[in-house]
């Protein structure tokens, strides 16, 4: 049976607005470049050789995974933003390319010195060929399957790439310099957002990688200072709902949602399901994507039965009343058993069809 993207779209939209009329819990995996290379049999350079090639490979991958979402994974505030800064500031040599996964920038090489930060030029994304290809690929998806992946932005993920571990010294020794870098990255995100709107049209939400919101890394106050305040500004300036992604351990999800207006969160930690139950009670209007399904646990090392149990546990505790999507994070890496991944949509169909058969779930 062909993949019904229209049904997936309605399912996701219904989940986000808390509609009682959705047929089942959606499946929201993050298949990164590595998984797209694996499923499509193409190298990463082939993927980015044309928007159509990348778009078709993404469709092939996400349809194979029986997903209710789709992405052009390179188009986020990760390595592609580092590349945009590298190209704009004549530092392309810090980019390392791989055959079957996304390239990466040498951490901290673009903003090694204070002068590098002061002189750092903000990219014009319409002139960066990779971004042009990625956004054209998103436009291709919008045309071909009538499904438009969101605009994906972030601050700290980019700041860390540009400045490396030095950011943590700056945080205490020179916070003003660090804020200067955050501001430049913010301006770059605004440029990206504008470019997305011009090339594809308005984004239904912003998928925001909020990597500062990690309890191991910094206090919540610092996370707000170096990332949260920029999310607030972005919300005020764009009025687009935010889906906040953080695959760190453990994130400040509860605290963020007490301070910012977040329409959905996407994470896989903490692993204690009770945390998520409480979160849903405290933030009933925030959609949870993920909860405690983590790729490096059941999916990588478990059996299909264990994966099914994990999906069942999440649906049982979180899917009642909607606003829940099953999604393992972080990115699905090369080595994960496809059988385990494909168990997720099967388990969703079995346990996550509305109205939930609560007696079977227990």
């Amino acid at each position: 049976m062909p993949h019904d993207w229209e049904a997936s779209k309605l399912r996701l939209l219904g989940t986000f607005i808390g509609s009682p009329n959705i047929d089942r819990v959606p499946f929201f995996p993050l298949a990164c470049e590595e998984m797209i290379c694996r499923i499509s049999g193409k190298t990463f350079r082939e993927l980015i050789s044309s928007p159509k090639t990348y778009g078709n490979a993404a469709i092939q991958t996400y349809e194979f995974l029986k997903a209710d979402t789709i992405a052009i994974p390179t188009a986020y505030a990760g390595p592609a933003e580092a590349l945009a800064f590298a190209e704009t500031n004549n530092k392309e040599d810090v980019i390392k390319w791989f055959d079957y996964k996304v390239f990466m920038a040498e951490q901290g090489a673009i903003c090694k010195t204070e002068e590098d930060i002061e002189k750092l030029e903000i990219p014009d994304h319409s002139k960066i060929s990779l971004w042009d290809t990625c956004y054209s690929a998103i436009d291709f998806l919008r045309e071909k399957i009538k499904f438009q992946p969101s605009c994906a932005l972030g601050i700290w993920s980019v700041v860390q790439q540009l400045r490396g571990p030095q950011v943590y010294r700056d945080m205490r020794k020179n916070p003003e310099l660090l804020l200067q870098l955050c501001e430049k990255v913010y301006q770059s995100q605004r440029d990206l957002f504008n470019f997305y709107n011009e090339r594809i049209g308005p984004s239904g939400n912003i998928f925001f990688t909020g990597y500062a919101f990690n309890k191991h890394m910094m206090s919540f106050e610092d996370a707000m200072k170096f990332e949260g305040q920029f999310i607030k500004r972005l919300q005020n300036e764009t009025r687009v709902p935010i889906v906040l992604h953080n695959c760190g351990t453990p994130p400040y999800f509860d605290e963020i949602c007490n301070n910012l207006e977040i329409s959905a969160i996407n994470g896989s930690h903490p692993l204690d399901i009770e945390y998520w139950v409480k979160f849903k009670e405290n933030h009933p209007n925030t959609t949870i994507i993920g909860a405690n399904i983590d790729v490096s646990r059941e999916l990588l090392n478990g059996t299909p039965l264990e994966v099914e149990e994990k999906v069942k546990e999440n649906i049982r505790h979180l899917a009642q009343g909607g606003r829940y999507a099953v999604g393992p994070i972080c990115c699905l890496p090369w080595g994960v058993s496809l059988n385990n991944i494909l168990t997720i949509p099967k388990a969703i169909k079995k346990w996550g069809t509305y109205p939930l058969q609560t007696q079977l779930l227990y």
């Binding site: 571990p165 205490r172 191991h216 890394m217 610092d222 490096s296 990588l300 890496p333 090369w334």
Partner: protein, 213 residues
């Protein structure tokens, strides 16, 4: 100032991550002829322990750990020649790197700084290190422990390859893998001897494995 007061002030400066202040007390300690081994154990290592405790209790964060580690390294640079003169042995030799395909090094930077700051010899292989390099350097350097640190989920397959190759070549060093992506199960899957979820845990684990307390 009495010896124990100097050591206490040195320790506090380290905990606060104030390198310059720590160096002042370090010089005072040396001028007062305090045994370098005593400086290491009672000021530097205790400082590291206090910092770790504050991190575990949520009072300190990565930035504080890193600054304290920087202060420890600055102090160690002064004291190390004197420890060698006094035939004080290194606490152990650690080989550490981020596996091929991953370039993230915040956790690794922290582990290296904290280990060096407490008297370990550390060989940093850098990032994006192929399995063959881990093997080659391990054969030449004969480390006590090999640390493989990564951030990305996709790094796990390279960790497996690296550990398999190290074991196949008969490397006897214990292998510790580190990163928030890991778990007890993935550690077994990789074939490593132990795992740590973050830099501070990694340091504690290495000290436990080396029986340094």
């Amino acid at each position: 100032m009495k010896d124990n007061e100097i050591l206490e002030k040195l320790k506090i400066s380290i905990v606060k991550g104030k390198s310059e202040e720590a160096l002042d007390f370090m010089h005072q300690a040396i001028n007062a002829n305090i045994d370098p081994k005593q400086i290491l154990n009672e000021a530097i290592i205790r400082g590291a322990e206090d910092v770790g405790l504050k991190y575990e209790e949520g009072e300190f964060f990565l930035a504080d750990l890193l600054l304290a580690a920087d202060a420890m390294i600055d102090c160690m640079d002064i004291i190390k020649p004197k420890l060698i003169e006094g035939k004080h042995k290194s606490l152990g030799k650690i080989l550490i790197g981020t596996p091929e395909g991953d370039i993230h090094d915040i956790g690794k930077t922290l582990v290296i700084a904290l280990l060096k700051g407490q008297g370990f010899d550390v060989i940093d292989l850098g990032v994006d290190v192929p399995p063959e390099t881990f093997v080659e350097v391990a054969m030449n350097e004969n480390p006590d422990i090999i640390g493989i640190s990564g951030l990305l989920t996709m790094t796990i397959s390279k960790m497996i390859e690296t550990v398999t190759m190290l074991k196949r070549k008969g490397i006897k060093a214990k292998i510790v893998v580190g990163g928030g992506i890991l778990s007890e199960k993935s550690c077994k899957h990789i074939g490593a001897d132990a795992w740590a979820k973050d830099g501070w845990e990694g340091v504690k684990l290495i000290k436990d494995l080396m029986e340094v307390n």
